[in-house]
C-alpha cells in the first residue's frame, strides 16, 4: 500500500535486531530482563489482551532503511515540487515569502533550543524562558498591545481563540466577521462556532476599493461580542480602524484585529494604537518560512485589563532564591493542566521554536531593519502594481495597500493561475480558490510582492499575464 517503498536493508543484523537510533544491544536486553525478572520482552506486554497482541511486525510495510536510502527517497519527493525560489513568485493570502537570514536557522538548530521541552523546570530552562519574555515584548510592541502571549498554533486558531475570549469578556455570543477576513480564518471560526454556540455574521467580499468598515459599524448591536477585522485585509486593502473601534466600544463590544502580514506593521499603524482590544496575527512571515502551511506561529496580544482571560502560555519575570532575575511560566491558573474543564483554552503545546525564529529574526532586523524591510516591500509592490495594471485586461482594485493588492482580470483567475504555473510562474492566489461560493469575484487575483521579488520577476509576470489575457 505504500508507494515508492524502500526495500528492506540488505545485510541487517538479525541477531542484534538494531537500527541506528536504538542503542540497546541484545546483551543489554538480556541483562535488564534478568533485573526485571522477566524472561522476554513479550512478558512485559501481558496486560495487553492476547487477541490484540501482534506476534510480529505489521505485514506489508518496509523494514528499516539506511540514512542514505531514506534521504534519497525524500529528496526524490522534494524534487517533484516547484519551490518558490525556482520561479517568479507572487503568492501571499496569509503566507508570505521573506528572506530569512542564515543565522536564524543556525540558531534554532542548537540542540539546547531544538530538543528542549516546554519550560516547566525554570532553573534549567532560562534560555527558552528569556526568549519567550523577549518575544512577548517584541510582539506586544509590534501589534501596539500592552501584553502578548508566548504563541498559539497559527493565525487562524489565534483568531477563533480571540472570538472565544471576547465572548467570555462581554458575555455576548454574536461576532461580526469582516468580509475582508481571510476565508480560511472564517472557515475555522465557523467550525468552532457550530460547537460553541457563537453566532457569526459574515459575507464574502465584493470587488471594491473600499473596505467594509462602514457596513461593520452599521451591524454592531447590543448582542455583539466583537467585530473581527483583518488589516491589511484579504484583498490587500488598508483602512483606519479607529472609527470601528469607537463604534464597537460604544456598544460594549470589542474590536479584534487580525494581521496576517506582520512586516506591514513596520510601515503602517499598529491595530492596538487604533483601539483594537485584541490583536492576533500570523507570525510566519518573520523567521519561520513558508513550509507548505505549517508549522506557523500564532501571535496573540491584548490590553492589560484582559490578561487573565487570555489563552495560552505566558512567561513572566521574577527572582530566584538568591535574588537574581529569572523567568517562569505564569498565570497558569488559566490553563488546562491546572484548571482542566474550566481553562480558558485547551492549548498545551504551542509554537515555541517558531516563536524563537521570529524573535531572532526580529532582533536581527531591529526597528531600523524592520522599517527598511517594510519600505522595500511597499516600494516593490507599488512598482509591480503600476506595471501590472498596464497589462490589457487588468485593473488594479486597491487605492491603498502595503505589499499585496488585488488585480481584476478579464478572465477567471483560477484558470489564469493554473496556466501561469504551467509556464513556471507562480503568479498569485485566485479569489476563486479562496471563495469558491462567490463566483462574482472569480476574476480577482491577489498578488503579493516582497523583497524576494526582482524587477525581472515583475516583468516576467506582466508578459505572461499579457499572453494569458490576450
Amino acid at each position: 500500500m505504500i508507494d515508492n517503498v524502500i526495500p528492506a536493508r540488505a545485510g541487517m543484523t538479525k541477531q542484534e535486531n538494531n537500527m541506528r537510533y536504538l542503542p540497546l544491544t541484545d546483551t543489554d536486553r538480556q541483562d535488564m530482563l534478568s533485573v526485571i525478572g522477566a524472561s522476554s520482552v513479550d512478558d512485559l506486554f501481558v496486560d495487553v489482551p492476547a487477541e490484540a497482541r501482534l506476534s510480529d511486525k505489521i505485514a506489508g510495510l518496509p523494514d528499516h532503511a539506511s540514512e542514505l536510502a531514506v534521504e534519497r527517497h525524500m529528496a526524490a519527493l522534494a524534487r517533484k515540487n516547484l519551490s518558490a525560489g525556482e520561479a517568479p513568485f507572487f503568492l501571499g493570502a496569509g503566507a508570505y515569502r521573506h528572506h530569512v537570514p542564515a543565522s536564524v536557522d543556525h540558531l534554532i538548530q542548537r540542540g539546547e533550543f531544538l530538543t528542549a521541552y516546554t519550560p516547566y523546570q525554570p532553573e534549567i530552562a532560562q534560555g527558552t524562558l528569556q526568549v519567550l519574555f523577549e518575544f512577548q515584548t517584541q510582539v506586544a510592541r509590534l501589534l501596539g498591545c500592552d501584553v502578548a502571549n508566548a504563541s498559539m498554533y497559527d493565525g487562524s486558531t489565534a483568531c477563533w481563540e480571540a472570538i472565544g475570549m471576547a465572548r467570555r469578556i462581554t458575555k455576548r455570543g454574536k461576532a461580526i466577521l469582516s468580509s475582508g477576513l481571510h476565508p480560511h480564518y472564517v472557515s475555522v471560526a465557523n467550525t468552532m462556532a457550530k460547537f460553541t454556540g457563537d453566532a457569526l455574521v459574515h459575507q464574502a467580499p465584493t470587488l471594491d476599493a473600499a473596505t467594509d468598515i462602514d457596513a461593520l459599524i452599521a451591524g454592531i448591536d447590543k448582542d455583539t461580542s466583537c467585530v473581527v477585522v483583518q488589516y491589511p485585509d484579504i484583498l490587500g486593502r488598508i483602512a483606519d480602524l479607529t472609527p470601528l473601534a469607537d463604534a464597537a466600544h460604544a456598544a460594549g463590544a470589542l474590536l479584534v484585529a487580525v494581521v496576517t502580514e506582520p512586516v506591514a506593521l513596520g510601515a503602517i499603524k499598529a491595530p492596538g494604537h487604533m483601539g483594537a482590544d485584541i490583536v492576533v496575527g500570523e507570525g510566519q512571515s518573520i523567521g519561520v518560512g513558508l513550509q507548505f502551511g505549517g508549522p506557523y506561529l500564532g501571535l496573540f496580544g491584548c490590553k492589560q485589563k484582559y490578561v487573565r482571560q487570555m489563552p495560552g502560555r505566558l512567561c513572566g519575570e521574577t527572582v530566584d532564591a538568591a535574588g537574581k532575575r529569572g523567568f517562569v511560566l505564569t498565570l497558569s491558573t488559566r490553563e488546562q493542566h491546572i484548571r482542566r474543564e474550566k481553562a480558558t483554552s485547551n492549548i498545551c503545546t504551542n509554537s515555541g521554536l517558531c516563536a524563537l525564529a521570529f524573535s531572532i529574526h526580529m532582533t536581527l532586523l531591529g526597528e531600523r531593519g524592520l522599517r527598511e524591510l517594510a519600505t522595500l516591500n511597499h516600494g516593490l509592490a507599488v512598482q509591480a502594481a503600476d506595471r501590472l495594471r498596464q497589462v490589457p485586461g487588468v485593473t488594479l482594485l486597491n487605492d491603498s495597500f502595503f505589499n499585496e493588492f488585488t488585480l481584476v482580470l478579464s478572465k477567471d483567475a483560477r484558470d489564469v493561475v493554473r496556466n501561469l504555473a504551467d509556464r513556471g510562474v507562480l503568479g498569485g492566489v485566485s479569489l476563486g480558490r479562496l471563495f469558491p461560493d462567490a463566483s462574482e469575484i472569480g476574476h480577482g487575483l491577489v498578488v503579493a510582492v516582497t523583497e524576494t521579488v526582482t524587477v525581472e520577476d515583475i516583468e516576467t509576470l506582466a508578459k505572461a499575464l499579457e499572453e494569458e489575457l490576450a
Binding site: L22, P23, G37, V41, H64, M74, E112, L114, F133, T318
Partner: protein, 523 residues
C-alpha cells in the same frame, strides 16, 4: 634587552576544597555566562540585516504610515548569534542527557529529519501553490497518512490538527458531528481522573459536561463504575491507553464494547502510543478516534514547547465527518480536497480546523523517522521503551514507593509516589536534586491520582549506561529525602538559577519588559 626565561606556571597549585569561589565583577562564572535582555543591550538604530535600496515611489499607505517609535531593539549579526548562543546554554535538552518526562516522550531527535524538512522542495512551498506544482508534498502527506492508518489499524486519518490538544478537539468534533447527524444530542463526556488536563478542557470547549470516572486500586479505569454511568446522555469516553499511570488498560476492548452498546464513542488519547507502536493496533481495541503526537512517538523535536502535530486516526463511523482539507490519490495524481471540491464527495465534513494543511514541516520529519525505522524498527521502539521503563521501575522500587508496582509490569513509564519520604520532604525536592545531578526531572505531581507523583519515561533511545547513571542519581536522592537531608531542600545549587519565585510572578505579573518593572512589582 634580555629574553625572560621563566615562562608561565604549567602545573596548578593544590586547591583547598574549603575555599569558596570568589565573586566575579561581571557575574559570569567562566562558561556560565549571564546574558542581559535585548532591550538592555540592543538599540532601535542597530540592525544585523541589510537590504537593497527601496524604489522611490509615492506611498500608497493612505494616511496610515506608522510614525511612533515601535521600540524594537536590534543587534548586529555577531551580537545576535552570541545572545542566543549564550541563552541556549541555560537550557537543558535531550542533546545534553536523559530527559525522563513522563507522558512527554523525550526521545532522540535524528538530524536527518531536520535536513529533510529543510529541503527547498518542502520548506520553500506556499500552501496555496497550484496543486500541479506540489505533487511531491501531497505525496508526503499521503504516504505518512498511509503509515499512520496501518500502524493504528484504523480507517482514515485527519492530518491537519496542529498538536495533541488540537487533535482531541478534532476527534470530539467528529464525534459530536456523528451524533448530530443521527439526531442524537448527548451532553456528557466521561474522563478518567488520571487524564491529561487537555481532555476535560477539550470536552468543555466542545460544549460538553465533563464527568470523572474513578480508578481502581490498581490504577486502571473502574469498568463497573463506567458501565453504571453509561446512558443515553453520554456522548463519548476519553481514555488514555496506555494510561498516565504507565499501565495498559486491560479491559479496553470490553470498555469499547460497552460504550458502543450504549450508543457512544471511544476517544483514545494517543500521547502514549510510543509504548505500543508495532505491537498493538488501537483499531483492534474498538477505538473510534485517537490523536497521535508526532512530536512524541515520531520524534519531531519539541522545540522548547512546540510546534507539535496531532493527526487523528478515525474509525469508519467517524470518517465521513473528518475535517478539511485532506489529500486523496486519484490515479497518478494527488489531490487536495478543500472547500472548492468538498461538495462532490465529502459533504459531511465538519469543516476546517486550521488555515492550511497542518504541520507539513512535522510531516516530513515524521515520515523520515518512520522510513528510517521501518515496521521492524518501530516494533523495536515499543519493546525497548517498555523494557527501559521496567528496568527503572525494578531498579528503584526498593527505595521509592511504586503504587502500582505490585500489579505487574509497567508500559513505557514508571510511576513512583512520595510515600516514605521524611517529614517535610517532597517530590519537588527530589526533582530539583536531579537537576544538580545533571538530569532533567521526571514529570512531577501528575497524574493527579497518585500523591506526589513522579512519572519517569526514559524512552527507547537511552543506552543502558545512561539508565544506570540515572538510577544511581535517583536512588541517592530518594535515600537523602528519606533520611531528611536538609541540603536537598536548597537544590538546585548548580543550575543557572536557584528555585524561582512563582508566587511573585503570578501576583503582580510582569509579562513584557519595561525599565524597572520588576522592582515596582516587588514593592
Amino acid at each position: 634587552m634580555t629574553m625572560l626565561k621563566e615562562g608561565r606556571p604549567t602545573a596548578p597549585q593544590a586547591v583547598n576544597e574549603a575555599d569558596s569561589a570568589p565573586a566575579t565583577v561581571t557575574g559570569n562564572r567562566a562558561l556560565m555566562l549571564e546574558e542581559a535582555l535585548i532591550f538592555e543591550i540592543g538599540s532601535t538604530d542597530t540592525t544585523g540585516v541589510d537590504f537593497a535600496e527601496a524604489p522611490k515611489v509615492a506611498s500608497r499607505l493612505g494616511n496610515l504610515a506608522r510614525t511612533d517609535g515601535i521600540g524594537l531593539p536590534g543587534l548586529s549579526e555577531q551580537e545576535t548569534v552570541r545572545h542566543y548562543t549564550r541563552l541556549s546554554r541555560q537550557n537543558y535538552a535531550i542533546d545534553l542527557g536523559l530527559f525522563p518526562l513522563g507522558s512527554c516522550t523525550m526521545k532522540h531527535n535524528p538530524r536527518l529529519n531536520e535536513k529533510v524538512a529543510r529541503m527547498p522542495g518542502f520548506a520553500d512551498l506556499h500552501p496555496l501553490a497550484p496543486q500541479s506544482t506540489v505533487q511531491g508534498a501531497l505525496a508526503v502527506i499521503h504516504e505518512l497518512a498511509q503509515w499512520l492508518v496501518t500502524l493504528t489499524g484504523m480507517h482514515s486519518v485527519a492530518m491537519s490538527p496542529k498538536a495533541g490538544a488540537h487533535g482531541e478537539l478534532c476527534g470530539l468534533l467528529a464525534i459530536r458531528s456523528a451524533l448530530e447527524a443521527r439526531g442524537d444530542a448527548r451532553s456528557v463526556i466521561l474522563v478518567p481522573e488520571s487524564a491529561h488536563g487537555t481532555n476535560p478542557a477539550t470536552a468543555a470547549f466542545c460544549g460538553y459536561k465533563v464527568e470523572d470516572i474513578p480508578a481502581t486500586p490498581d490504577g486502571r479505569v473502574d469498568l463497573e463504575a463506567l458501565k453504571a454511568r453509561l446512558g443515553p446522555d453520554v456522548a463519548a469516553v476519553m481514555i488514555t491507553n496506555p494510561n498516565t499511570c504507565g499501565l495498559f488498560e486491560r479491559e479496553m476492548k470490553t470498555i469499547s464494547d460497552a460504550v458502543h452498546a450504549a450508543g457512544a464513542f471511544v476517544y483514545c488519547d494517543g500521547a502514549n502510543f510510543n509504548a505500543i507502536v508495532g505491537r498493538v493496533r488501537p483499531g483492534d481495541l474498538g477505538v473510534d478516534a485517537m490523536h497521535i503526537n508526532l512530536h512524541k512517538t515520531f520524534s519531531t523535536p519539541h522545540g522548547g514547547g512546540g510546534p507539535g502535530s496531532g493527526p487523528v486516526v478515525l474509525s469508519e463511523a467517524l470518517t465521513p465527518f473528518a475535517p478539511l482539507p485532506f489529500v486523496e490519490k486519484q490515479g497518478d495524481r494527488f489531490v487536495l480536497v478543500e472547500e472548492e471540491t468538498v461538495e462532490d464527495h465529502h459533504a459531511s465534513s465538519f469543516g476546517r480546523m486550521v488555515a492550511f494543511h497542518g504541520q507539513m514541516g512535522m510531516f516530513t520529519r515524521a515520515l523520515t523517522y518512520i522510513l528510517s525505522h521501518g515496521a521492524d524498527g518501530l516494533r523495536q521502539v515499543a519493546s525497548d521503551a517498555v523494557l527501559n521503563a521496567n528496568y527503572i521501575l525494578r531498579s528503584l522500587d526498593d527505595v521509592l514507593d511504586a503504587p502500582f508496582g505490585g500489579s505487574g509490569p509497567c508500559m513505557h513509564e514508571a510511576l513512583f509516589s512520595d510515600k516514605g519520604l521524611a517529614e517535610g520532604f517532597t517530590t519537588l525536592d527530589i526533582a530539583k536534586g536531579l537537576i544538580d545531578e545533571g538530569f532533567h526531572p521526571m514529570t512531577m505531581y501528575f497524574p493527579l491520582v497518585v500523591h506526589g507523583a513522579m512519572l519517569v519515561e526514559p524512552t527507547e533511545t537511552e543506552s543502558k549506561a545512561a539508565l544506570d547513571q540515572f538510577i544511581l542519581a535517583l536512588r541517592s536522592l530518594a535515600e537523602r529525602a528519606k533520611a531528611g537531608d536538609e541540603a536537598l531542600k536548597g537544590a538546585p545549587y548548580f543550575a543557572p538559577r536557584r528555585r524561582l519565585d512563582e508566587t511573585l510572578a503570578a501576583r503582580k505579573p510582569v509579562l513584557t519588559w519595561t525599565e524597572g518593572a520588576l522592582a515596582q512589582a516587588a514593592e
